[in-house]
Structures are given as structure tokens and as C-alpha cells.
Amino acid sequence: MPRLSADARHRVRFELNGRAVEGDAEPRMLLTDFLRHDLGMTGTHVGCEHGVCGACTVEIDGVPARACLTLAVQADGAKIRTVEGLAPAPGRLSVLQEAFRRNHALQCGFCTAGILMSLDYYLRHHPDPAEAELRDFLGGHLCRCTGYAPILAAALEAAGKLRETSAHA
């Protein structure tokens, strides 16, 4: 049974947005800091650092989770998606991101990466969501700018667009 020593840095490997990545982390390093400082992926934001605000939400093995409540060493071998993985190509936005822009669903943008990760997951699994469901799911995020209404509008609009696209596909 491998015991990772507190004082050393240990190799951590996982899949990030479809690419194999690796770096070294002390056992106490949070996944948020590992993503930002070691991998240079600064799209994931660090807010409260105790799981309340949702800014650091990423997808771990297919489900949205708080990167700040995950140790980097726990993520070894996992599949992780971050906000950097949402856009289909450089210079292009995803349908959800585009809807955020059109609906003014962000102002300062601090909470946005986490909210996008949650909603991207939710819309993939619930293509025709009721507004109440989206409200409940958004309950895991704090936004101090928008008052949430534009975020809900963007999510509903994106859901409609995604349904149209899949109907024509």
C-alpha cells in the first residue's frame, strides 16, 4: 500500500479535457491549486475554498464536483473536464457560453466557470429542463452580480438551441 509522504511531491496523472496531463503535488494540495498553479489552467476559479460558492466546480469522472474539496492526489487516474474544455474550437463559444453572452448571464465572471460546468452537465443529461429544476441545480452556486435571472434565461435558451440542433442532426 503506497503511503505518500507529507513532505514530498508525488506524481499525479489524469485526463484533462481529453488530454493526458501530469504534475507533482504534495498530498495536501487541493485540485484547484494543482489545476491553476501546476497545470496553468486558470479558468477554474478559487472562491470560498470550502465548497460553498461553487466557483471551482469542474467535472470529475463525469459528474460536477468541487475542485476545492478534492485533493490533487485523489484525482490521480480520473477524467477531469474544466471550463477550458467547453469551447469547440479556439475563438468559438459553445452554445451555452454563447447564450450566457447574449443574455448578460455574467458580469464580473468570477462564478461563471463553475456555473457553466454545472449547466453543461445538466443540459447534457436533461435536454428539456423545467425552470424549477435549473433553479435547484443552480442552488449550488453563488453569483453576486446577476441576480441569477439572466443565468436561468441563458440556460433555458441554450437548452432550446441544443434540442433544435439534435433534432436536425
Binding site: 487541493l30 491549486d33 470550502h50 470529475i60 464536483a65 468541487r66 474539496l69 478534492t70 485523489q74
Partner: protein, 275 residues
């Protein structure tokens, strides 16, 4: 990095986890989903020398119905129990309480047993376990024992678990025909820890009400089949015995009022649900 330094062991078997606990005792902490423990580490309210990760032990990630109880293993995430197709039929109280546990984004990682181990006085899963008279299965290198929920929660964030033990599973009685179940909670925002949470089990001859968020431990009381003013008086007395305190979130008076009003509403709902 916010947590203090610790060693990390990713165990490959339950025996390894037991061995680590036997060796390091109270310097070691079990980590599974980490949704309660990691904030404690980051705030340095917990400073273990070693973390023992049990999340890769597939034998612990099982939900099974054994006799008249649901056995939920230590590796079962809250989201997995909530998504279990038999949940509402087997135990409606648990089905009603689980959506109140944190948020979807924390239930995806947080485990059912982890919430029991953490023993936050306002947490929903310990409350449901107590209301339903469930139990906690503890195991160590030497022995295995079952502690009834009523004896497990011993104080604020403290339990009957010894340093060399881990929670291997909890058992929750399945619904009983003729009983009604209800769960209600008041929090500032959905997903916050409860200011007051109530779980009720109604029988033909009485009702059991468990209250979370008020005393240092979730607390249950059995009432005879009373209504009207008699029930109000009984709830008043119960609310007083819980010795609510003022804090940042609510005053003691407010909590007492919530126990009376929300407690009564929960009892009445449970009675209506009796089938």
C-alpha cells in the same frame, strides 16, 4: 495550499485501511468523498498526520437490502443513494431528506457514511438515521460492532467511533406498513446547513420526531397519539429541552419557534402519509 501537511494512503483493501488505523490511531482520518473533511482540513480544524483514502474499495460501494434494512456501504455516494431506484419505495423518509443534503455538486462526491462520521448537528443523514432507529456498523482490525444511532452521536462532531475504527456501513430500516414518514427543513438558502430540520415517523399509536440543527446532536422524542394543544405543549417542552443557543444564523427563540411550528407541520404530514 491551505491544509496542514499529512501523509496520504490510497488503500487497496479494507484490511489495509484497518491496518493504517491500528498503526496511526487518532493521528489518522478516513477520507472518502471528502466533502466534510476537506473543508475541516482547509480551515485547519482537523490536522491529521495521515489520511486513509477508502474511496477505491469497490466492496464498500454497495447498497443492499438485508432483512428489513437497507445497508449502505461506506463508499456509497449521496448521489448514488438518491438515484437508487428502490429508495422511495423502501424508505420514503430517506428519499425526502437526501435532496436537502448539500447541493448536487457536493452529493456527487460526498458519501452517506461520511456525513454520519462527520456528525454535524444540523446534517440531514444523521437525523434520518436517528428518526428511523438505524445503526452504524463499525469495524477495526480486531472487531466489528453495531452501534444504534441513538448511542452513536455523542456530541458536537463527536461519535462513539474509536480511533482504530471506521464506519463500514450504516443500516436503515425499510418502511413499515401503516407508518407515515415526513421530512422538513428550514435554512436560509436551499443546500445550506439547516437552522432546524425535522424528521417524523407516525404510527397508529404515536409519533417519533427527530430534530436537527438545535442541540449539539440530533435528538429524537416519541410522543403518544396527541393533537391540538396537547401536542403544542409537548413540542414546547421538547424545544426547551433541546437548549437552543443564539448564533450567527438564528436566535434561540427563533429556533424554539421553528421546532414548534415546523415540528408540528412535519408530524401532521407524517400522519397524513400513513398507509
Amino acid at each position: 495550499m491551505k491544509p496542514a501537511r499529512f501523509d496520504y494512503i490510497r488503500t487497496g483493501s479494507l484490511a489495509e485501511a484497518h491496518a493504517a488505523l491500528a498503526k496511526d490511531g487518532d493521528d489518522a482520518r478516513i477520507i472518502a468523498g471528502g466533502q466534510s473533511l476537506v473543508p475541516m482540513l482547509s480551515m485547519r480544524m482537523a490536522r491529521p498526520a495521515v489520511l486513509v483514502d477508502i474511496m477505491h474499495l469497490s466492496e464498500l460501494a454497495k447498497i443492499v437490502v438485508k432483512g428489513n434494512a437497507i445497508r449502505v456501504g461506506a463508499g456509497v455516494r449521496q448521489a448514488a443513494l438518491l438515484a437508487w431506484p428502490e429508495l422511495a419505495e423502501r424508505q420514503p423518509l430517506l428519499a425526502a431528506a437526501l435532496p436537502w443534503v448539500g447541493h448536487a455538486q457536493t452529493r456527487s462526491r460526498g458519501t452517506v457514511c461520511g456525513s454520519v462520521a462527520h456528525a454535524d448537528p444540523s446534517a440531514e443523514i444523521p437525523l434520518a438515521l436517528l428518526a428511523l432507529k438505524g445503526g452504524v456498523e463499525l469495524s477495526s482490525q480486531r472487531e466489528r460492532r453495531r452501534v444504534p444511532a441513538e448511542e452513536f452521536f455523542t456530541g458536537l462532531l463527536s461519535t462513539a467511533r474509536s480511533d482504530n475504527e471506521l464506519i463500514e456501513a450504516i443500516d436503515i430500516p425499510c418502511r413499515t406498513a401503516g407508518h407515515g414518514y415526513a421530512f422538513r427543513e428550514f435554512a436560509r438558502r436551499h443546500g445550506d446547513f439547516a437552522i432546524v430540520a425535522c424528521a417524523a415517523v407516525a404510527r397508529a399509536d404515536g409519533v417519533r420526531l427527530a430534530i436537527g440543527g438545535v442541540a449539539d446532536v440530533p435528538t429524537a422524542r416519541d410522543f403518544p397519539d396527541i393533537g391540538g394543544n396537547a401536542l403544542d405543549d409537548a413540542l414546547d417542552e421538547f424545544a426547551g429541552e433541546l437548549e437552543p443557543r443564539d448564533d450567527l444564523h438564528a436566535t434561540a427563540d427563533y429556533r424554539r419557534a421553528l421546532v414548534r411550528r415546523l415540528g408540528r407541520a412535519t408530524i401532521e404530514e407524517a400522519r397524513r402519509c400513513r398507509v
